[in-house]
Symmetry: C2
Subunit: 345 residues, 2 copies
Amino acid sequence: MPRTPSPRLVDVARAAGVSLATASRALSEPDMVRENTRGRVQEAVAMLGYVPHGTARALATRRTRTIGAVFPPVDNPIFAGATHALAQELAAAGYTLLLASHDYDLDAELAATRALVERGADGMVLVGLDHRPETLAVLERSGVPYEITWSLDGAGNHHCVGLSHRGASIKVAQHLLDLGHREIAVIAGITNNNDRARERLSGVRDALASRGLKLPAKRVIEAPFSVARGREAFVKLLERAPGFTAVIGGNDPLAIGALLEARARGIDVPGEMSVAGFDDIELAGELPPGLTTIRVPSAEIGREAGRRLLARLEGKTVPRVREMPAPLIARGTTGPAPKGKAWPR
Amino acid sequence: MPRTPSPRLVDVARAAGVSLATASRALSEPDMVRENTRGRVQEAVAMLGYVPHGTARALATRRTRTIGAVFPPVDNPIFAGATHALAQELAAAGYTLLLASHDYDLDAELAATRALVERGADGMVLVGLDHRPETLAVLERSGVPYEITWSLDGAGNHHCVGLSHRGASIKVAQHLLDLGHREIAVIAGITNNNDRARERLSGVRDALASRGLKLPAKRVIEAPFSVARGREAFVKLLERAPGFTAVIGGNDPLAIGALLEARARGIDVPGEMSVAGFDDIELAGELPPGLTTIRVPSAEIGREAGRRLLARLEGKTVPRVREMPAPLIARGTTGPAPKGKAWPR
DNA sequence: TTGTAGGCGTTATCAT
DNA sequence: ATGATAACGCCTACAA
């Protein structure tokens, strides 16, 4: 508890021998004030250790200089990178991040969105296209500009910065098909409430279909994004539907899980089994052999979402949709389909 | 832009046929209002789609229901986990996280701290003990309760929830000493502005010293926390001061980098080289062989910091310092020191 | 350039 | 239990 109540702008004004209005201007519109008086005000500020009262300022200006973001688990490395980049971008412009995270729970997401809008967020960042209808309604009604990240809105209803998960996924699958693989398995993320996971999965289906191949249900398994779950899923696939020569992970941790489990079982990668992921986390390039994957510029997505929002708050117009590049990074975990019989030999 | 300006509490009051004061009470102190009228107010709220104006409320109550956290790179997995846990804990209590992150830059940290305090954060979370003096001064002056996380304040000046990095580090070194290692190298994090990195490093020194051994300067190298930097550092150590049989990483990514590089060079781990880390990130337990490390309960630290802050805001007293367990997790990357000559053979 | 005064949307005090 | 009304701390026409 502060012994002395912290000084108000009036105190500064008094100490500087000017009016409240002048003190206010000296701080927020410096060049509307004579240099001399401005100096006196600044001295007073320093002397009293005055700290502006953001809440009051916000009430008067109807701006909080705050951007709200509601993200799925921030501890997923890709969201962590985006969060960091976003926070940095905002800080550089004098804005602060109001962060809420949930565990792929749309109701929690809605609640968080409400909370952030109530707190007066000047702009909002959401992830993906799967939301409760109320979530977007809250946003529309409040008139807060928002950006959808990661996904691209086909209908063009929202401002968004992301990529085509389906398209990228097709690249991965085609890469494997080109290598001669015909029996492919997928360890997808949990597709419920997650359009990215869904699109990545259907990308594989589409790619196979376009070559007249099918992706049997037993060759698909969904698992929460983690290395441990990737291992488990790979084991299940092996038991349930052996005979595949390549496995695609819904993200890198899942793929790395499959890779580690394959190696643990003496399955040669890529000799007997090819493995591919999605995201290109740091480790993907460091593991031997390097993990073939899609590079998702997650930090760049966070940064760009921030930039766009700030621009819009300044009244500028930005293209409604911003597609980020998501190239295939072919590394050592994918190779030609084995000539003979698939594993188990 | 909203066509219609969003409804205020007055509008709700009017629609419900009550006074502003009653409408306010019906929402914030429901049982001070007759059930009947309360119902009418709630109907009006629903009808008008009224959303409370947090900023105005904050100005009147002098509470923002917001907690500020300023973290080093949130994309470091351990901070990401803590951020997520903290956000969740706060959300459950109706609080929101104001997040700022910096790149181990104390001036940026100070600026962020100022920004969050200005925004009216009811409480603050910082990481570690290395700060600009002004940073803590700002906190003290404003009277905002804060928690130092990760580190423990020996002097007992601050509320904190963390662990003894030196103590944990000693455990790691002793573990290696007990395995017969005498020539030990360290890939420390950047110790400048990072008391955790410094303490971890000096823990190794202390452990060696207590057995009459020294840690030569050439056996220590500092590197930013990442797998790639861990690899590089390991290479440099090998060139600069070969002959060691064990290497301790300042955190898991650094250790994993060393591990991967060792393996890439055909150095057997743990046969010829033992490797240990710090943090116990998910991957540590999944890699073959599992990485010996210290388990740092980072999510728990975030959660606990939130809990303590919320308790203090309710006027409860909490023990000034909360030490978290940080056990040694011995896995496969550490083994007996090789009998013969150290690598290179 | 500087000062005066009203307003931003709630909560809280004090009557009734 | 409900109603007036003064804070809360700052910004911003408007006036001087």
